[in-house]
């Protein structure tokens, strides 16, 4: 467990009282052992998950998928098809669970909301000038509230990496607080875009900053930048979540997104979640995969377990 000294524990995070205080707090966090983090994830990746445990992991992973389409070429038809797939990922097998959420651009929220009505599947919308986040604050706020008004119950915002990397932490903090307010009852996922944060230390700082500012979820990436989600980065975020719970008793979810394409990858993440923050996070309310192609691989593996022979992509929908 991370040993934070009494300087930090006094807080319900009055550390955000000024830029200087925030700076002091974030830079007072212990540094990340880069080699250690990579070695730890490599070791956890060697776990062998088979038979019934694998079947459980696959169904859990399907229930955790935020089925995502974030393309300039998205059409209402494509979004409707995606929603139908989210409801019944494998139409041939009624025991197949549905996904956690559908994730779309704000302009597609009304279409998706209509298509998901009554299904219990969450509707996530990216907002705040996704994926760059380079827009005036008023635009970001409007982007967010418009998505919520249109029926999104989860908002995926991007942090202001420009301000973060320039060390203007309070600006980033205030932005998240303002967006959180604009979200009203909708859940807020904060995208750190770890591929642009350069160092693991920055990932830890950004994770804490987002959680202090009120994030319900912290998310690795937009999926538009490489590298996207990696195991070490997600490990550092999970550790931050674990330490934050110990400090404040508030639970925060984690969502790796981008670059997770195979069942094997997904199971590695689940093992890491279990070993880092525990079983409490092995639930779609607390851990999600932002993915599109992953779902088909999960379905193929699921079919393989059910039928006893290898499945092929010809038998599943493309999107």
């Amino acid at each position: 467990m991370l040993a934070l000294n009494s300087r930090t524990t006094k807080t319900a995070f009055d550390v955000a009282s000024s830029d200087a205080a925030l700076h002091r707090f974030l830079h007072g966090l212990p540094g990340v052992d880069k080699v250690g983090a990579e070695q730890r994830t490599a070791a956890l990746s060697t776990r062998s998950i088979k038979t019934t445990a694998k079947a459980y992991a696959i169904d859990l992973a399907i229930r955790m998928v935020d089925l995502t389409t974030l393309e300039g070429a998205d059409t209402p038809g494509k979004v409707k098809a995606l929603c139908a797939k989210g409801r019944h990922p494998d139409p041939a097998d009624p025991t197949c669970p549905s996904v956690a959420a559908i994730c779309v651009y704000p302009s597609m929220v009304p279409t998706a909301a209509a298509a998901l009505k009554g299904s219990g599947i969450h509707l996530a919308s990216v907002a705040t000038a996704f994926p760059s986040g380079q827009a005036p604050m008023a635009v970001k706020l409007y982007d967010t509230s418009a998505a919520v008004d249109a029926g999104a119950d989860e908002i995926d915002m991007v942090i202001n990496r420009g301000a973060f990397l320039a060390g203007r932490y309070l600006e980033v903090y205030e932005e998240i607080v303002a967006i959180k307010e604009a979200c009203r009852s909708a859940h807020l996922k904060v995208i750190l875009e770890t591929g642009e944060l350069v160092t693991y230390d920055n990932v830890r700082r950004a994770s804490w900053l987002a959680m202090i500012a009120g994030a319900d979820f912290i998310k690795t990436s937009t999926g538009k930048v490489t590298p996207a989600a990696t195991l070490p980065v997600t490990l550092i975020m999970l550790e931050a979540v674990r330490d934050y719970v110990a400090e404040t008793s508030r639970k925060v979810g984690v969502k790796p997104a981008g670059g997770i394409r195979t069942t094997k990858d997904a199971i590695k993440y689940l093992v890491m979640v279990n070993e880092t923050v525990g079983e409490g996070w092995l639930d779609p309310d607390w851990f999600r995969f932002g993915a599109s192609t992953l779902l088909n691989d999960l379905l193929m593996q699921r079919t393989k377990l059910a039928t006893g022979h290898y499945a092929g992509p010809d038998y599943f929908t493309l999107d």
């Binding site: 006893g308 022979h309 290898y310 499945a311 092929g312 992509p313 010809d314 038998y315």
Partner: protein
Amino acid sequence: MPSKARVAVRKTYKLFIGGAFPRSESGRTFEVDGNNVALASRKDARDAVLAARAAFGKWAGATAYNRGQILYRAAEMLESRRGEFPAEEVDDAVDRLVWYAGWSDKIAQVYGSANPVAGPYFNISSPEPTGVVAIIAPSSFLGFVSVLAPAIVTGNTCVVVTPAAVDAITFAEVLATSDLPGGVVNILTGSVAEVAPWLASHDDVNGLDLTGVDNAELALTLEQSAAGTLKRIIRRSSPKWTDDPGIGRMTAFLETKTVWHPKGV
């Protein structure tokens, strides 16, 4: 100068998957004629199908002329390494590769057609490759080449299973130096009875060549599980490999696409 005893450099014959020579995922080996050879598992078969599928688009899209060149190149490389293959079969094997190389840009003329139709249209039927073909190869080297070449010359990619590992993997070294894109041919050495059922039932395999299956009962069950996904099949047989092969092995894994095109008066 006194002659110095050298330490023997012994060779391990590994699998050929996606253009690389990996060991079996299972770590198992078996012995063939005193050589250590990788024993393929079902997961190697799965990986090989993935590699074959990934290679299919580019290989099927390559010009027939280019595929012919590459097969001819394989014949050249085989010729230059002829000492490593069974002496009584290697001449025929080289000739067989050259023969099939010549067919690459002619099969469409023979097997396709321009159809007369009542209307201002061209109506053209042209053969297209089926996809990924799983091949159970016969144990003779000439037989091996004679089932492999016709499957790939038309643009299919393949996964070949054979217990005759040494010739097969030495031939893989020939293919690897012939500009053949990685994954077009994948070779699994090991037990047919262990690996073949996984390929026969695999949803992402489109054709199955059972020529080399030596057990009639196994051949029947393989055909039955291949029926689940309507694979094209060449049935078990033991032809005389030195005979004229005909075009049957090529056409078995071709599909005919017919298009209508307005004549535009």
